[in-house]
């Protein structure tokens, strides 16, 4: 087992299937009582050349550079799956020298991004999460192919009681170092956020 494989959630909700250098942790029969293997899958693939460094799969070079990779996760666009995104990002962030507080920030940010998709009721069936892992930062893409939208952040007002929704994007912007949103019919809705170690 490579270091990358070992670092991923040790079958948080079920069994693991290894295929070559890919790790797929399917979300299977147990939590919701139905088969979810095709609906939700965790794929961690080592990119061929993430930062210009040669990757030789299955040898020491791969292990040494394992944190410089890309992890892809797709979850159903349903509330009960958001915790899986949180667990995954925590496992990935643990590979970098993030503080406990920074990891909590990442967990909240990715959960808010997923929650935005779910609550938008845009018709998206699933949420795609791509995590680019650098040596000192994580760049997280959250995509869906529901109705096109860009959600604006709603800051808490200085006086009075704030609105009950809309704080999600505000929190993401507060906790992450950079946040970009885009939407077009071809690529769908995308939120890209970056968190640097020690920021």
């Amino acid at each position: 087992m490579s270091e990358l494989e070992a670092s991923l959630p040790a079958s948080p909700l079920g069994t693991e299937h290894r295929r070559g250098s890919e790790l797929e942790a399917s979300l299977p029969t147990s939590p919701l009582g139905t088969e979810h293997r095709r609906e939700s899958e965790l794929e961690a693939s080592l990119p061929t050349n993430p930062l210009g460094t040669e990757h030789r799969r299955g040898n020491a070079t791969q292990v040494a550079n394992a944190h410089l990779g890309t992890v892809e996760l797709r979850i159903p666009s349903k509330p009960e799956w958001v915790a899986v995104a949180r667990l995954t990002i925590a496992a990935i962030a643990n590979r970098l020298p993030f503080s406990v507080e920074e990891i909590e920030d990442l967990k909240l940010a990715i959960a808010e991004a997923c929650t935005n998709v779910i609550q938008s009721e845009s018709g998206a069936d699933s949420i795609e999460i791509v995590v680019e892992t650098g040596s000192a930062e994580l760049k997280i893409h959250v995509r869906d192919h529901g109705a096109i939208r860009v959600r604006q952040a709603v800051a808490a007002p200085l006086g009075g009681v704030p609105v009950e929704g809309g704080l999600g994007v505000f929190l993401i912007q507060a906790l992450m170092d950079s946040v970009e949103q885009s939407a077009n019919p071809e690529s769908g809705n995308q939120l890209v956020m970056t968190k640097r170690v020690g920021s």
């Binding site: 009960e80 958001v82 915790a83 507080e101 808490a156 009075g160 929190l171 507060a174």
Partner: protein, 114 residues
Amino acid sequence: MDIKVNVRESGGDAYVVELGGEIDVYTSPKVKDAITELIDQGHYNLVINLERVRYIDSTGLGVLIGGLKRVREHGGSVNLVCTNPQIRKIFDITGLVKIFGIYDDEIGAQKALA
């Protein structure tokens, strides 16, 4: 992923809603139901104890804000008990520290309701 909700009377007309676990888009409806039920029964002074909450996101904040709005309509109040620095940080970032009374223990939160 779990959420525990325990409601108890705390003297006077105040009630304590003790929460434990994670409050997110999946679990927050259970919290909302508990708070709504108390308000529907005419209890407008609430202490919500977050001491055993490990995680809260914007949907959880939304539930607390919704509860506060409803009790204020009846002259009531919601005070929170929270010492977890990560949870308090979220209230700080969102400015909700200015909206809710946040206390280190239930006794302080209950006294402030009076």
